[in-house]
C-alpha cells in the first residue's frame, strides 16, 4: 500500500464516509466458520495429492511429463483469509490487509495447475453454432491453481486498450475484456461497495504455466503454434463455429486478468437471480422496462423487492454498471446464507469499458424509474465528483498499482467523471420531482450521523 502524502486515494479512504463503523458481527453474520473451512481445505489438499499421482502416471503413459509441484496447506494463505473475511455486509472489509496480499499472490505466485472452468465443463462440449447468444461457459477462460492452493479465473486479453466495441456489436456479442475485469474491481472498491472479488492483472506464460502443467487432455489439445511461431489456444466451440479466433502469446507471454475464486458452492452456496431489468438478448425484442416508464412500480410490489433494501442494492448495481458501461448484467448472485437482505455480488464485469465515447443511459433505468438511492451511496458519489477526490484521479491512482498499468486509457477515465455527473443529475431530477425524503433512503444507522 502506497503511503504517499499527496495521494488522493489515501485521503479518500481516510474520509469519514469511508470509515463508518459496522455493527459488531455475530457468528451468523460471517459466511464461513473457520474450523469448517480449514478442515474442508485439508481434505481438498489430500485429495489433490492423491489425484496428482494418478495424473502424472497417465500423462507419462502418453509421453508427457508434468512437473510435480508440492502443495502445502497454509492456514495463513491470503485467499483463505479473504474467504474467512466475507460477511453479510461485503466481500471484504476496508482495512483488510489480506486483500492486498491476495492481489500480490495472484500476480506472482507460481501456477501449479490449469483447467477449464466449471461452467464450461457443465456444458459437456455442447456447441450450437446457430445460437446467437452463447452461454457464458463457452467463453475463453481458465481456472488456475496457485502454489498456496488458491484458485483464480484467468481471462486472456482479447482487445487492445485503445480499441472500442465496434458500433454494430450488440451487448451480447461484445468482447470479454481483461482490463474491464481489473478496473471493475478497483472501481467497486473506490465506490466502497466491496462486492467484486479481488482481480489482478498478470502476464502468464501460456506454455509453461498452462500447457505443460495442465492435467486436462482436452485443454492440451486446443494448443497450437501459429504461423508467426506464437503459442496459441482457443475456446473450442467458438473456434469451431468460426465466431472467434484463438488467443496467442508473444511468443509465450499473454496478459490477462486473475479473479480470485469465491468459496466453493458446497460450503457457501449462492443463487443466481435474473435481473428485473434484464435485456431481451435478441436483435429486435424489447423488454417491458424498455417501453413502460412505470415498470418500477410493478417491481416494487414484487417479492423480494417489496421489502428491505434489495431494490436499493439493484440500484447500486445499476449505477456501478452505468459507470463501466456494462450492458450484460442479466443475472446477479447472492449468498443464500445471508438471505434476502444480503449484498449482491457483482461478478463478471468483462463487458464493461467497451466505449468511452458513449454513455448508455438505459443501464441507469432502475434509478431513473424507481427514483430512489441509498444515502451512503449518494454521499460517496457526491464526494467523488469533487475535484479533491475526483473519480478519474482516484481510479488512475488505484489502477497504477496493477502490473498491467495503464489498465484504462485516459478516455475511459474521463468517461467515468462524465457518467458520474449523469448519475448525480438523474438523482437531482428525482429529488426535484418527489422530494428528498422520498428519493434518498437512509440505509445505515451510522450514515445518518455523518453529515457532509
Amino acid at each position: 500500500v502506497s503511503t504517499e502524502r499527496g495521494s488522493k486515494l489515501e485521503r479518500l479512504f481516510r474520509h469519514r464516509l469511508y470509515n463508518i463503523r459496522l455493527p459488531e458481527l455475530g457468528p451468523e453474520e460471517r459466511l464461513l466458520d473457520e474450523d469448517e473451512l480449514v478442515n474442508y481445505c485439508k481434505r481438498k489438499v489430500s485429495r489433490w495429492e492423491r489425484l496428482k499421482k494418478f495424473y502424472i502416471e497417465a500423462a507419462a503413459a502418453s509421453n508427457i511429463t508434468i512437473p510435480d509441484h508440492p502443495v502445502t496447506f497454509d492456514p495463513e494463505a491470503s485467499w483463505l483469509q479473504f474467504h474467512l473475511g466475507i460477511n453479510r455486509y461485503a466481500l471484504y472489509s476496508r482495512d483488510d490487509g489480506s486483500i492486498d496480499r491476495l492481489l500480490r499472490d495472484m500476480q506472482t505466485a507460481p501456477v501449479i495447475s490449469a483447467d477449464f472452468t466449471q461452467d464450461e465443463k457443465a456444458l459437456k462440449g455442447a456447441c450450437d453454432c446457430s445460437q446467437v447468444v452463447k452461454p457464458s461457459g463457452l467463453h475463453l477462460k481458465l481456472a488456475l491453481k496457485l502454489q498456496d492452493f488458491g484458485k483464480a479465473m484467468f481471462k486472456p486479453m482479447r482487445q487492445e486498450r485503445h480499441e472500442e466495441t465496434p458500433e454494430n456489436f450488440f451487448y451480447f456479442v461484445d468482447f470479454q475484456r481483461h482490463n474491464a475485469e481489473i478496473a471493475a474491481f478497483h472501481l467497486d472498491r473506490v465506490l466502497d461497495f466491496r462486492r467484486v472479488p479481488p482481480v489482478a492483472g498478470r502476464f502468464i506464460n501460456v506454455t509453461g504455466e498452462i500447457l505443460y502443467i495442465t492435467h486436462n487432455e482436452e485443454l492440451r489439445s486446443v494448443f497450437f503454434t501459429s504461423p508467426a511461431n506464437n503459442t496459441c489456444f482457443f475456446a473450442k466451440c467458438l473456434y469451431v463455429c468460426k465466431s472467434e479466433y484463438a488467443v496467442c502469446g508473444h511468443p509465450d507471454l499473454l496478459e490477462g486478468s486473475m479473479s480470485a475464486y469465491l468459496p466453493g458452492l458446497s460450503i457457501a452456496p449462492r443463487i443466481s437471480i435474473p435481473n428485473p431489468w434484464i435485456r431481451a438478448y435478441s436483435f429486435t425484442g424489447r423488454e417491458e422496462w424498455e417501453v413502460n416508464p412505470l415498470y418500477c412500480d410493478n417491481v416494487k410490489k414484487r417479492y423480494p423487492y417489496n421489502s428491505g433494501n434489495r431494490l436499493l442494492n439493484i440500484i447500486d448495481m445499476a449505477i456501478f454498471d452505468f459507470l463501466t458501461g456494462n450492458m450484460d448484467r442479466h443475472h446477479y448472485e447472492i449468498f443464500t446464507k445471508f438471505g434476502d437482505d444480503g449484498f449482491l455480488l457483482h461478478l463478471d464485469n468483462a463487458r464493461g469499458f467497451g466505449r468511452h465515447s458513449h454513455d448508455e443511459m438505459s443501464i441507469l433505468a432502475p434509478l431513473t424509474q424507481c427514483c430512489m438511492i441509498k444515502r451512503s451511496t449518494l454521499f460517496r458519489l457526491k464526494l467523488l465528483a469533487r475535484s479533491e477526490y475526483r473519480l478519474s484521479d482516484v481510479m488512475r491512482e488505484s489502477l497504477s498499482r496493477d502490473p498491467l498499468t495503464p489498465v484504462l486509457t485516459e478516455d475511459h477515465l474521463q468517461a467515468l467523471d462524465r457518467r458520474l455527473g449523469q448519475v448525480l443529475r438523474t438523482v437531482g431530477t428525482c429529488v426535484k420531482k418527489l422530494g428528498e425524503t422520498q428519493v434518498v433512503i437512509t440505509d445505515f444507522v451510522e450514515s445518518s450521523r455523518v453529515t457532509t
Binding site: N168, T225, Y245
Partner: protein, 567 residues
C-alpha cells in the same frame, strides 16, 4: 362457469370458420395450377408453344409465383414461404431457392445454345476485332498494351478450340426447344433481349458474348470491348434476385441481373488498411473483395487472361439483397445493429455469425461481383488438385515441404509430363506469389479442351492480406521446378522496368473500378518487391541449369500478329 360454456360453442365456431378459410386459401392456388396445367397441355402440346399473349395468364403456379416475386419483391408472402419449406424437406436439397436458381440457370444456358445456333456472325464474335480500349490521359497502361510482347497472336482457332460447339451441344440437350416458353416470358418483361430468329450477335447481352468468346487459350481476348461493357454491366445492371451460394467456406451470394446474367458477390469483410493478423493460418484468413478485383486486373496486366471479369459495386442491402432474395435462411439473418445499420451474416461454415456480421452504412455495402462462367451443364469443368497444395492442418506438413526433389516426381505424372500444364502451374505460382495468395488448393480447366488448355484462376479472395510480408513458400513450385514460359519471363522483365512498373500499371488499371482505390499503396509497392524476388529466383535457376532448360520458348511457335493480319 355457465357463461364460459356458452362461449365455448362460439369459440369453437370461430375456430372452425378460421380453419375452413385457411384450407380454402391454401388449396386455391393448387387448384388453379391443376387447371392451368391441363389448359397448357391442351393448347401447347409438349411445351413447344408459340408466343402466349400476356392475357393468357397462369400457365403454372410456380411461374406465376416467380413473376409475382419479381414484380413485388416483398418477403414473405405466405405461399412462397410454404414452398421454401417444402423444398427444405426434400432430402438432398438444403438449397431452398437456390435449387430454383439452378433451374433458371439451366433454362438460360439452353437458351444460350439456341442463340448460338441462330447467331449468324459468331465467327466475328469469337475473334474480336482488335479495338483499342479507350484509356484516358497519358497512359502507361496504353503503352504497355502497345508493346510487341502484348501483340502476340493466338494460333488459328478451329471448331474444337472454341468452348461452344453448337451442334453437339444441341444434341446434348434435346429439350432445349421446350424453353421457348421461358423466352417468351422473358419477352414480356424485357423486350430488348428477346431472342428472335433475326437477332444479331450484337444484340446479345455482354455476359453471353463473353461466354461465346472463351477458347482453348484464353477466357477473353486482349482488347475485347465486351469485357469493358461486361464490367459496366456488373456495376449498373439491376439485381433481380439473390441467393446464397451453397458449399464454399465463406459467405458468397449469387446475384442475377435483369439481362439474365449472373455474378458471384463477395461482400467486404475488412477495410483496405487491415492486414491478416500474424497468427492467422492461410485457411482461416478472410476473403477480401478487393483482392478479387485486384486479381482480375493483375491477371490482365500479366496478359494471362485466366480470371473471369470482376468489378466492385456498392450494393444497397435492403433493396438489392434483402428485398429480392427468396432464400429464407439468408433473409432471416438480417438485423438492425445498435448503430442503426443494416446487418446480415448469412449461413456458411466460416465467419457466418453475429460476431462477423456484415453491416452497411447504413445500408450500403461494398462488394466484388465476379462474372459467372458458362453453366456447368453447358461447359463442364474439371477440378484438379494442385500438386503443391498445402496440408490445411495446423501441425502437419505437405509432401512438397519436406521433399526438395518433389518437382521431379510431379514432372513424370500426367498431365504434368507433357504440354504446357506444368508451365501453366508456374504462371499461376507467380500470379499467386505476387498477391500473396496461399490458398490455391485446386484449379480448374474446361473439360472440352482436354489437357491442352489454360487453367482458370478462380477464387483469389485470399490474396493481398499482408503487404509487409512475402510468403516465399508460395514460390516453391518455381524454385523446385525451375521452368517458365518465355512469354511470361519477358513480360515479367518488362514489368520490372521503371517505365512499365507493375505498381503504376496496377494503380492505373484499378482506378477504372468504381470502388477505387482498391489497394493501398503498400500493397502496390509489395508487388514490385515480389516481382524482383521472382526474377531473382528465375535468374538463379538460369545460372544453375542454363537458359534453354529453364525458359521454354512458347513465342516462336505462333505466327506474329502482323503476319496474321496480313491474311
Amino acid at each position: 362457469m355457465i357463461l364460459f360454456r356458452k362461449f365455448r360453442v362460439l369459440i369453437l365456431m370461430v375456430f372452425l370458420v378460421a380453419c375452413t378459410m385457411h384450407i380454402m386459401i391454401d388449396l386455391l392456388p393448387k387448384l388453379e395450377k391443376r387447371a392451368a396445367g391441363s389448359s397448357s397441355s391442351a393448347g401447347g402440346g409438349g411445351g413447344c408453344s408459340c408466343a402466349h399473349t400476356p392475357g393468357e395468364e397462369p400457365r403454372s403456379w410456380a411461374k406465376q409465383r416467380a413473376r409475382a416475386a419479381a414484380a413485388e419483391p416483398g418477403w414473405p408472402n405466405k405461399h412462397s414461404l410454404r414452398l421454401l419449406q417444402d423444398f427444405s424437406n426434400e432430402p438432398n436439397s438444403n438449397l431452398t431457392s437456390h435449387s430454383r436458381e439452378k433451374v433458371t440457370e439451366r433454362a438460360e444456358s439452353e437458351k444460350r445454345v439456341r442463340q448460338l445456333q441462330l447467331g449468324s456472325e459468331k465467327r466475328g464474335l469469337m475473334r474480336d476485332t482488335v479495338k483499342q480500349r479507350a484509356v484516358q490521359g497519358s497512359s502507361r497502361l496504353k503503352a504497355l498494351y502497345e508493346h510487341p510482347l502484348y501483340k502476340t497472336d493466338l494460333p488459328h482457332l478451329s471448331e474444337d478450340d472454341t468452348l461452344f460447339n453448337l451442334n453437339n451441344d444441341i444434341r446434348f440437350y434435346p429439350k432445349a426447344a421446350g424453353q421457348q416458353e421461358w423466352h417468351n416470358e422473358g419477352n414480356v418483361e424485357e423486350e430488348e433481349y428477346s431472342p428472335t430468329g433475326e437477332a444479331t450477335a450484337e444484340s446479345y447481352p455482354n455476359w453471353l458474348r463473353f461466354h461465346i468468346g472463351i477458347n482453348r487459350y484464353e477466357l477473353y481476348s486482349r482488347h475485347n470491348p465486351i469485357i469493358g461493357a461486361l464490367l459496366k454491366d456488373l456495376v449498373s445492371q439491376k439485381i433481380t434476385s439473390v441467393a446464397m451460394k451453397s458449399g464454399g467456406t465463406q459467405l458468397k451470394l449469387i446475384m442475377s441481373f435483369q439481362n439474365y446474367g449472373q455474378a458471384l458477390f463477395k461482400p467486404m469483410k475488412q477495410t483496405r488498411e487491415q492486414e491478416t493478423p500474424p497468427d492467422f493460418f492461410y485457411f482461416s484468413d478472410f476473403e477480401r473483395h478487393n483482392a478479387e478485383i485486384a486479381a482480375f486486373h493483375l491477371d490482365r496486366i500479366l496478359d494471362f487472361r485466366r480470371v473471369p471479369p470482376v468489378a466492385g459495386r456498392l450494393v444497397n442491402m435492403t433493396r438489392e439483397i434483402r428485398d429480392v432474395t427468396r432464400d429464407k435462411k439468408l433473409w432471416r439473418t438480417f438485423f438492425v445493429s445498435p448503430a442503426n445499420n443494416i446487418c446480415f451474416y448469412g449461413e456458411c461454415s466460416y465467419y457466418c455469425s453475429t460476431e462477423h456480421a456484415l453491416c452497411g452504412k447504413p445500408d450500403q455495402i461494398e462488394g466484388s461481383l465476379a462474372a459467372f462462367l458458362p453453366d456447368l451443364a453447358l461447359a463442364k469443368r474439371k477440378t484438379w488438385r494442385n500438386p503443391w497444395r498445402r496440408s490445411y492442418h495446423k501441425r502437419k506438413k505437405a509432401e512438397w515441404e519436406v521433399d526438395p526433389d518433389y518437382c521431379d516426381e510431379v514432372k513424370q505424372t500426367p498431365p504434368y509430363d507433357r504440354g504446357t500444364r506444368l508451365l501453366d502451374i508456374m504462371d499461376m505460382t507467380i500470379f499467386d506469389f505476387l498477391m500473396g495468395n496461399m490458398d490455391r488448393h485446386h484449379y480448374e480447366t474446361f473439360e472440352k479442351f482436354g489437357n491442352e488448355t489454360f487453367i482458370i484462376h478462380l477464387d483469389n479472395g485470399r490474396g493481398f492480406g499482408k503487404h509487409s510480408h512475402d510468403e516465399m513458400s508460395i514460390l516453391v513450385p518455381l524454385t523446385q521446378c525451375c521452368r517458365v514460359k518465355r512469354s511470361t519471363y519477358l513480360r515479367l522483365q518488362l514489368l520490372a522496368k521503371e517505365e512499365f512498373k507493375l505498381s503504376s500499371l496496377m494503380e492505373e488499371s484499378l482506378l477504372q473500378d468504381q470502388l477505387a482505390p482498391i489497394l493501398i499503396q503498400p500493397h502496390l509497392e509489395a508487388m514490385d518487391r515480389r516481382l524482383r524476388l521472382v526474377l531473382r529466383v528465375l535468374a538463379d535457376c538460369v545460372e544453375k541449369e542454363g537458359f534453354p532448360l529453364v525458359v521454354e520458348n512458347d513465342l516462336d511457335r505462333q505466327p506474329s500478329s502482323h503476319h496474321h493480319q496480313a491474311h
